[in-house]
Amino acid sequence: MMIQPSNIKEAARSLLASKQRTILALIGIVIGIGSVIAMVSVGRIVQEESLRQFKEMGTDILTIEKEFGGSPGMPGAQAKSGLKLETIRDIPGGCPAISSVAPSVRGSGNVSFNGKKLDRAGPMGVTASFLEINKLSVRQGRFLSDLDEQSRFCVIGSRVAAELQKNGSSQLLGSKIRIGDNLFTVIGVTNEVPEGGMRRFEPNETIYIHITTGLRVFANAEISSITARVAPGTTNNSARDQVMSYFASLGKGPQVKITSPEEIIAQMEKQMQMFTLLLGAIGSISLIVGGVGVMNVMLVSVTERRREIGIRRALGAKRGDIRGQFLIESVILSLIGGAFGIVFGIGASWLIAHFAKWQFVLSISALLLGVGVSNAVGIFFGYYPARQASLLDPIVALKSD
């Protein structure tokens, strides 16, 4: 079999001769390739996006959490089983590999301003180090300092600030917010942070108060999570070991679980891989449907062109020439479908990224996959019809009409 420009030209012409059928067959391929591309591409975008957000936080961060299970949180017994603020503050002293820690306590209770309830605002008790470790910055006023212990000051996220302004606060600083039964005075506003980061809270919708205040005013307050920054020049693993032995040295103290960014990234990548595989599988099913469409078109085409096959055989075409002719046709058909599918898939993933506010990444591997897969579909589903054509007896083919 020889592939020459004239073969390709002829294949294109015969596909054009039956436009309707060609277009109908293409729809299956376009959807099939398109979904594979869209899925692989969206998977890639999500992956890049989460990694990007993670990297924004830095990879020298350890998350220390109280290990749950074993000791069910009985009311009144928490103070014993929970992490003590003093213990936490001593971590950098006990572990040279940790440069700073930021414990936090989640608050509950209704938040209101001027008598209006704020729905999208969660109070949280933090320390001064919290701002820097979580890569947040202050837009207006100042953040909480270590001198604000037991104070009634608060710093608000940008969306909370917007909410206050909507509810008639002309001067953000100095506004009073009610959390449960306590009034807090706003002393600062943090800058807007891109959504969906790796932080385990929503920075824009948080009201920060000092952790000591939080521990006192929040109902059932308990320090559940500590973010720790690893000292420069130390590995996360050695830092983790130090923290573990630090907590072990406390004796009957609480068990902790330490998560490093590498673990989270690895876990995330594994998840994404599964996701991509799953989506790819769904795409493959539509591809098979599309491929069967191509096979159908080619079988009809072979049946309709039996006489042509006979003529070509009489003029000296070998079986391989005939097989090649029909194979080229089905591959071209699939490649055209693949080209539209790629455009469709990339477009779809762009739209998804646009609406999800993710950064769009053009995945070259998805493009190559699209071309490769459509080629494979053409060859795989075109082979049987092409073989049928090549095995036709010349005289039978010539006599048919």
């Binding site: 020889m2 020459q4 420009p5 004239s6 002829e10 012409r13 015969s14 001769a17 006489r307 042509e308 003529i311 070509r312 055989r313 009489a314 003029l315 000296g316 075409a317 070998k318 079986r319 391989g320 020439d321 010349p394 005289i395 010539l398």
Partner: protein
């Protein structure tokens, strides 16, 4: 150049065997202009298909240019059709999507020759049959006689030693058919190409140097 000995061909149609050729022996020399004449159903088309290597006999011996034809290698048969035989059919059998020029080029394409010399060669043969001014027309833009001329150019372009024509004038009126016959005669006379014409028309057969009459699957002596 052609030696057929006791060629038999039978088809199985359902439970019955139908003998179409019942022992045909025929010799055709290089440069002959032969017609094989007979009523429809006498087996002349089957004979032509066997001579043209489009069909294989049930039994018998077929020597082409001194060599026994082997039916085991399909590619070799394709090659012989491509190199040594030119077909002309009653229904012209041009490919409707291709222009006259592209139709003529087909035998060369199957030789792997698609260069510019191929284009020149096709034009040369189109000129020879008087169709060079219609080279870029599609078959449906040509009259029956014109289509048959293109088909003859296609049969000639591969420089075959044998032209097999199956009722070449059957679909044409007398005058155009006469012109086509003149073309065959001049090809035979000038280029020395062996021409075998299958026909049921005694008027056509009479124009050939030799007539083999077929009846009921055998050649009547």
């Amino acid at each position: 150049m052609l030696t057929l000995r006791d060629i038999r061909k039978s088809y199985r149609i359902g439970p019955t065997e139908v003998d179409v050729l019942k022992g045909v022996s025929l010799d055709i020399q290089q440069g002959e202009l032969v017609s094989i004449m007979g009523a429809s159903g006498c087996g002349k088309s089957t004979l032509m298909n066997i001579i043209g290597l489009l069909d294989r006999p049930t039994s018998g011996s077929f020597m082409l240019d001194g060599a026994e034809v082997s039916y085991t290698d399909d590619d070799a048969l394709s090659e012989i059709r491509n190199q040594r035989i030119g077909f002309v059919f009653q229904q012209y059998f041009l490919l409707s999507r291709l222009t006259a020029l592209e139709n003529v080029a087909l035998p060369l394409i199957y030789r792997g020759n698609t260069g510019s010399d191929s284009h020149d060669r096709c034009m040369e043969f189109l000129k020879r049959v008087g169709m060079d001014d219609r080279a870029h027309h599609r078959p449906n833009e040509l009259s029956g006689g014109q289509q048959q001329r293109v088909a003859i150019a296609r049969a000639l372009v591969g420089n075959p030693s044998l032209i097999l024509a199956d009722e070449p004038t059957g679909a044409l009126d007398t005058q155009v058919g006469g012109e086509i016959m003149e073309l065959f005669k001049s090809l035979n006379a000038e280029a020395g190409i062996t021409v075998v014409i299958i026909t049921h028309d005694p008027g056509i057969a009479r124009q050939c140097k030799r007539v083999a009459v077929m009846k009921d699957g055998v050649i009547v002596p």
